[in-house]
Assembly symmetry: C2
Homo-oligomer: 342 residues x 2
DNA sequence: TTGAAAGCGCTAACAC
DNA sequence: GTGTTAGCGCTTTCAA
């Protein structure tokens, strides 16, 4: 009586299925892992029992036996400067979906302030994950080297900045190509005085993005002196920088390292009665939600985060297959999204 | 020779530690799980061996034995309407951090288009997680009921909308209180014609937020006719709604169901030459990055997502402790963030 | 093609 | 206090 009401739900085991199907446990195991080995009618009978009981192999037992967890560890980077949060959303969501396709789940973990390796170390030593996805390699945290020292499996989201011939799999977005596309777009529109507003020195990503602008300007034979500015990544700084640049060199277009900075430029232009997209063109970076909310829209650069996530999982699959294969580094290109501001 | 170079890193086991410490395996296990049982010097010796080898219990083995995985499943809701992505970031980040404090990791999974239970079912039947955190109960997906039917452990992020006396633990944010605070704030500022721009009917959350406005207006004896509008949650719709309301009833203030809608209002005011925060006040909802980027800033409602995450983990801890305790439902209040637009 | 035995690494129950 | 024994549920030999 009581058992139907309050019996704790203990999922069926291999043995339960075997009993129902009238075969041995191993045969059930084979039905799941090597169905080819079974005769057709046996397989069908076992399958029926599996369906009837709603059987699914116990993860812990399987993990223990196969020395694999079907789990991929992703360290949630500490809260970023700026509004990079929306990116994380797009990235993680796709990561989870494509991992599922590959038979893996994503395990999230955070890391200690003091010890950046602690989280990785624990998971590794307790064999809790099969591999890691390591984001933000540009920050110069030496997680990658540390993991290699431990012979841990991982795929990096970010090129090997230090040594270009690193022997680990990675996927990255060629961020310089973004500002390059932005600048070329403005040149095509007829602009010749194109200003750059970027991050303070010291950010690898910031320097890369700046490089895209500089490279393109140089190739087009356009002047750059007095047209570059490096500030903190907040709206007010972007605005101040724009004011200064307008006073100094009156550019007709701005390329910015982030959408937040571009918003600052928009504010500055607005305050001066300059019409965005008509008097002065502005391009941001990131395709954050803001860029669509601004009246007329903000031309910006969209990073292929979804593609990156898919590529990372593919690289992970080769890494975890037998024999393991180290996928070649893959560089993806960001995309210019033209809206009203240019 | 070779072994130091390419030997695969097999983490040490309990037996290894036991051997080094010169005790039995069980004693090592006790040293970890019931240290009180050991004599001080034995404990010290075992601890030393543990440190020396860098031992950490194998997860799979422990999970198998204890019938627990120390994993909490979180279903990533499908991409939302609107820019709710930043929320996810704040929420998930805190969730991961406080889970870590409780000895748990967060396992992310997604769900099938067709079968909303599939993801839950798989994890449950394979005993891959100890409990779930179920977001978005307001969407009327009956995940909660399904889980209860399965006697699965979970904590809901969202009150039991259907039956107020549900016997499962939940944490929610009283979203109506947000628009209530926004409206009261505007009344305090001397406004009497306060318009509402919300979502189309059918959204539980949307109706709640509207209720906050209506309730407060009613209590203050202020008129509401011709002052409410329900549109799609995008900037252009917000703008159109604002135009219409301005033409019709010339409100001096707007309360919006989202920041995106508020942005639309800002655009409309701008187009008419009305000064935001001076001629007309505007309040958004969500404290999205946009609200800080707008010149002067957008007054908005901030949801205590971090608090919610912490509370959810606390509820989870009581649920997973022995004996299990079902924490009382907890309602958190959002907070008004006053910026230049009001 | 199917079945029996062994054991992955750990912890719960008991003996010493 | 410490060690011995058993077994969690599964897969991997190896026999039949």
């Amino acid at each position: 009586m009581d058992r139907y009401v309050s019996r704790p739900v203990t999922p069926p085991t291999l043995a339960d299925v075997a009993e129902v199907a009238g075969v041995s446990r191993q045969t059930v195991s084979n039905a799941i892992n090597n169905p080819d080995l079974l005769r057709e009618d046996t397989l069908a009978r076992v399958q029926e029992a599996i369906d009837q009981l709603g059987y699914l192999p116990n993860r812990a037992a399987r993990n223990l036996r196969t020395r694999a967890s079907q789990l991929i560890g992703l360290c949630l980077p500490r809260a970023h400067e700026g509004a990079r949060s929306a990116l994380l959303d797009r990235f993680v969501r796709t990561l989870v979906e494509s991992s599922r396709g590959a038979g893996y789940h994503v395990l999230l973990f955070s890391t200690d302030e003091d010890d950046p390796f602690a989280g990785y170390d624990d998971l590794l030593r307790s064999t809790a994950v099969d591999a890691f996805i390591v984001p933000e390699t540009h920050l110069g945290n030496d997680v990658v080297e540390w993991l290699m020292g431990r012979r841990a499996k991982f795929v990096a989201f970010g090129r090997p900045w230090g040594n270009p011939h690193a022997t680990y799999p990675w996927v990255d977005i060629d961020t310089a190509k973004g500002s390059e596309a932005a600048t070329r777009h403005l040149i095509d529109r007829g602009h010749t005085k194109i200003a750059w507003i970027g991050w303070r020195k010291g950010s690898v990503l910031g320097e890369e993005r700046r490089l895209g602008w500089a490279r393109t300007m140089h190739a087009a034979g356009l002047p750059m002196t007095g047209l570059a500015s490096r500030v903190e990544d907040i709206v007010t700084s972007g605005r101040a920088a724009a004011e200064a640049l307008l006073d100094e060199s009156s550019p007709t277009a701005f390329v910015c390292a982030t959408d937040a900075l571009a918003m600052g430029v928009l504010n500055a232009l607005d305050a001066r009665g300059l019409k965005v997209g008509i008097d002065v063109a502005v391009v941001g970076y990131g395709d954050s939600p803001v860029s669509q909310m601004v009246p007329g829209g903000l031309t910006t650069i969209r990073q292929p985060l979804e593609d990156a996530a898919v590529a990372l999982v593919e690289a992970l699959e080769s890494l975890l297959s037998f024999p393991p294969t180290i996928a070649a580094g893959l560089m993806l290109e960001p995309k210019l999204i033209v809206r009203g501001s240019s």
